[in-house]
């Protein structure tokens, strides 16, 4: 499991290595590299999702690794509390940015292997700390550096860490 330690509290994530192997491993690698440490949630929409992992405080974009293939066709749905990869209009453009759904957003799910239908790849879920997510989703937002819905006060991922699971189970 992975813990995002934010200035609002801890969010514990369980990744689905079985259904989203490429995406889960990609996310884990960014965590291992310390990539997310000090980055912010830069797009917060209270009845949609909270998105982060792409900018440091002050909206400075970060250099990422190459984009990964889109695994949205894995049957997982963008329901409340799931984590999925953010991307541009190009379906296979996700790198490091992710979002946590704060509402059932089924319209983001995969419907067809086309530009329009690829959807957004869910690769895990919040298992602890949904109260923290709830707090973050309600922060006041503004426009900053040409981006909309940026929290007025930084929501910072102070660190992202891997917690080893009990291997006996």
């Amino acid at each position: 499991m992975i813990v995002l330690k934010t200035n609002f509290g801890d969010i514990t994530l369980q990744l689905d290595y079985e259904k989203a192997p490429v995406t889960a491993k990609n996310f884990e690698q960014y965590v291992r590299d310390g990539f997310y440490n000090g980055l912010i949630f830069h797009r917060v929409i209270s009845n949609f999702m909270i998105q982060g992992g792409g900018f440091s405080a002050g909206m400075t974009p970060q250099q990422t690794r190459d984009p990964i293939k889109n695994e949205a066709n894995n049957g997982l749905s963008n329901v409340t509390g799931t984590i999925a990869m953010a991307r541009t209009m190009d379906p296979h453009s996700a790198s490091a940015q992710f979002f946590i759904n704060v509402k059932d957003n089924g319209f983001l799910d995969h419907t067809a292997e086309t530009m329009e239908g690829w959807g957004y790849a869910v690769f895990g879920k919040v298992v602890e700390g949904m109260d923290v997510v709830e707090k973050i989703k309600n922060v006041p937002t503004t426009m900053a550096s040409g981006h909309q819905d940026v929290p007025v006060d930084d929501v910072v991922i102070e660190s992202a860490e891997i917690i080893e699971e009990d291997s006996a189970n």
Partner: protein
């Protein structure tokens, strides 16, 4: 995963190039999208759902084909086609929207309008608008025979053309204060409208917060549409009609 917005196509038999471009648009850009919003002045004129000209019949058929393929279609009245009714919607699978309507688009409230009601400085037109939108007048008008309605529509068009000739262009644009008041009243940060034929994305301040006003383009030399994605991207796009 995409929502599209168009307005001011002013479809009429005299412009087969626009009709052709629109059908191409339905079968390409609009295919497989979540929703298509048509924000008024879709037709150059509309005197009742029972007219059924060849143009109207072919437009209905194409809209029905898109709605049956799974794209939701919403239509709002403009100042030229405000008599589009439930029968048209039933025949095409469209949903008629009030002006204004507030929708939730990827988590955010968005105000949709045709835009003529924002042009409050054109007092003469505002009075005319009020008369035309009067329910009693509409009911009476629709009860008249088709040839009678066609004649009245022709007369109204002639009057309108004569009147607009001398009008200063800025009078026919929206009143900025009205835009701010509308956004403030609905506590929304995005307003999308057409009508003025001045396509642009404007950034403004409402109650000390940033807001955006998107003006859709009219289809004359170019096809115009607004594309909205879950990523938050908002693109006002256009291409020459022949393409």
């Amino acid at each position: 995963m995409t929502t599209l917005f168009i307005s001011d196509l002013h479809l009429e038999e005299a412009r087969p190039d626009i009709i052709k471009a629109f059908f191409n648009f339905l079968n390409n850009q609009a295919r497989n999208t979540d929703a298509l919003y048509i924000l008024g002045d879709f037709f150059e004129a509309w005197i009742g759902d029972d007219e059924n000209t060849p143009l109207q019949l072919s437009v209905k058929k194409e809209l029905k084909s898109l709605s049956e393929s799974g794209t939701q279609i919403f239509i709002m009245h403009g100042n030229r086609d405000f008599l589009i009714g439930q029968q048209f919607c039933d025949e095409t699978g469209c949903t008629l929207l009030d002006d204004p309507t507030v929708i939730t688009l990827y988590g955010k409230d968005v105000i949709l309008m045709h835009g003529d009601s924002l042009c409050t400085r054109d007092t003469e037109y505002m009075k005319f608008r009020q008369n035309m939108r009067n329910q009693e007048w509409q009911t009476m008008f629709l009860k008249r025979s088709l040839p009678e309605r066609q004649l009245v529509a022709q007369q109204l068009r002639t009057i309108s053309q004569a009147k607009n000739k001398g009008k200063a262009l800025e009078i026919m644009d929206v009143t900025p204060e009205e835009v701010v008041a509308t956004l403030s009243q609905h506590k929304a940060s995005l307003l999308i409208h057409g009508h003025t034929h001045r396509p642009a994305i404007h950034q403004l301040q409402v109650d000390t917060k940033p807001a955006t006003r998107v003006v859709l383009g009219d289809w004359d030399t170019h096809a115009w549409y607004l594309k909205s994605e879950p990523t938050g991207e908002l693109e006002l796009l256009n291409y020459p009609l022949g393409e």
